[in-house]
Subunit: 374 residues, 2 copies
């Protein structure tokens, strides 16, 4: 009953049991009723239907307010420690969908301060330039420029800092230790940092001078930050931010979280078709040791990274996905063919993404918070 896995905003290790995680973090599973409710707004997305977005906090409360005519804003972000990979895009794709359905303003926070504080190998200049690259990937997904604001922590600190101070005054080191697993060897910047990640939860309320609900689509590993923010919110006179959590996007080696530290099992948004083919070609699958054996006994899609990629992002048609499972299990399709199909789909996606990423360079300066010059 105490599985050996660890999920914090800075580390995902072991084999993650997402059911246990919901209990550990004290979040709520998205049940059929909530899924249907979201579908009724047109907000059912493949990622929701397939239980990739599977956990939440206060979604029904948020939708009740929305039904009463009280709109909410969206907030998500990225810790700029390297190039963007497909795993980073997943919650943003869902966020884009939520923006379309609910007409919501979205704040996208790039935490150049965080990555500098938590990574001994990075300087502020590094995280800042990575943030720019990450922001292009975010914008390439097609967010409405009129309703999108990019926050770069060190640039927009003037707006974040007073809010962060208010949060930090109500959070003791004891709490930070308990929530994040800090000890006396953590640096004092990293200890303070969660206050900065909490600040955008209240930024729209602060800017508009009225209380506005916030919805945060994010990986479940980020939940601890917002647990802190939620505890403090009522004391500050703000609504608690609502959350909707996704599972981690897997690595090509079959692990639980795609990680930039393993570049050969990670597909970056800037990868060339050749690189995609090479990486997918080496992916871990549920195949057998030989083509003969696989034709005879079939493959195992449940452990297969190639299948997971189709399940998460690259096969939206449920019928086709079911057919793939049958064909794999029956030995009708071999890994080579399946990989070639995935490669082609990723290459199609990235070709279009890279084109739009280039376009974003032209307007990124128009969507920065308070118009900072990028």
């Amino acid at each position: 009953m105490s599985p050996e896995f660890k999920v914090t905003p800075w580390e995902v290790s072991g084999e993650v049991d997402y059911d246990v995680l919901v209990e550990r973090f004290g979040t709520n599973r998205i049940d059929e009723a909530l899924r249907e409710r979201m579908a009724s707004y047109g907000a059912e997305h493949t990622l929701l239907k397939r239980n990739v977005f599977y956990s939440h906090r206060d979604m029904n409360w948020l939708l009740d307010l929305y039904d009463k005519g009280k709109p909410f804003f969206l907030y998500t972000g990225r810790g700029p420690s390297g190039d963007t990979h497909l795993g980073h895009l997943m919650p943003w794709i869902f966020a884009k969908h939520l923006q379309d359905v609910f007409g919501a303003t979205i704040y996208f926070q790039l935490t150049d301060d965080e990555k500098y504080l938590f990574r001994s190998d990075l300087e502020l200049e590094d995280t800042r330039s990575m943030a720019y690259q990450n922001a292009l990937d975010f914008l390439a997904l097609g967010f409405d420029p009129e309703r999108t604001r990019i926050i770069l922590d060190t640039e927009n600190i003037h707006r974040l800092y007073p809010l962060a101070l208010k949060v930090s005054k109500r959070v003791t080191f004891s709490t930070a230790k308990a929530v994040f697993g800090f000890d006396n060897s953590n640096n004092i910047g990293s200890i303070f940092y969660t206050s900065i990640q909490a600040a955008p939860c209240f930024i729209e309320s602060e800017m508009k001078g009225e209380n506005i609900p916030c919805l945060i689509p994010c990986g479940i590993d980020q939940d601890p930050h917002f647990r802190v923010a939620r505890d403090v919110a009522p004391v500050l006179g703000y609504y608690k931010p609502a959350l909707i959590h996704n599972k981690m996007f897997p690595g090509l080696e079959g692990g639980d979280k795609m990680s930039s530290s393993s570049p050969e099992t990670t597909i970056y948004t800037t990868d060339s078709p050749k690189a995609v083919k090479r990486k997918v070609g080496k992916a871990f699958t549920g195949g057998r040791v030989s083509a003969e054996e696989q034709r005879a006994e079939g493959g195992n899609p449940e452990v297969c990274a190639v299948f997971k990629y189709k399940f998460f992002l690259f096969e939206e048609d449920d019928a086709k996905l079911d057919e793939l499972v049958s064909r794999c299990r029956s030995g009708d399709i071999l890994c080579g063919e399946c990989k070639a199909d995935l490669s082609a789909k990723i290459i199609d996606f990235l070709t279009e993404h890279q084109r739009r990423r280039g376009e974003a360079e032209a307007f990124i300066g128009d969507v920065t918070l308070d118009g900072f010059d990028w």
Copy 2:
């Protein structure tokens, strides 16, 4: 050998032994050679001659660089938790003297964030408005507007934050605990805060793009912050800031540090002549129980708050001060006369100060860092 007094940036209690404090903090006494050296620049001030500024770090190194044509800048500040009193003015008066002698630019930091984080009874709006009042008092002392920059932490955070991040990354919670006496119940903002107070040590270097030495005239109670800053400076490629420390300005009740929490034993810069007379009238003195006894046995200037005020700020003429001591000890002057004399001197000083304080309102906007609008 372990006297029962405590000196931290947020608390001064017990009877302070300034000799022990030098050892405890690891600073250096200002010796005769250094005093003479400073006098050679024209920098001998009554506060230095009388050993009120009595401790330092790296003053000789700083002056060696100055002699080689490398100028330094000055940095001091104020935690805006209330009205300015005479004790606050003392290091600023000396800082003004240093500006005049060395032609140095001075940065004056108003830590509205600090006082908000450390005082449960204050909101950010409170500390911000107090900061404005404190800044007027600073400017009233006659700093050269061309070489003076007011920093308000929440306004200038854009410039301070990257420097604070660099400091905070190199300071563990263990260190902060050891230096400031924090424990797990401290809030995470207060734990981070010292990084913000360290930032101005490097601000001129950062703005000018070259390494520029910094001298901090301040109360010795602030030394722990700069011990941290000095430890980190070389790693960041900056000079360690030099310091020159003053003893605490006494309260009218005879205690070691004038404190805003005892308004009747504290003289504020905005006090009326009537209030000054009332407060000085009730001051603790070294007098006897009756005029007769005092004429016969004499008073004790060493414990007398009225004498201390003259010693610190209100009698610059050494001969007159010596004469006062003799007359007091011999019973030639009684407390009433001595108090009336001090009251008159304080009222003269405050009348002029209040006039210049009013004038400062007109130009305070011109001397804010990066021209923030006050």
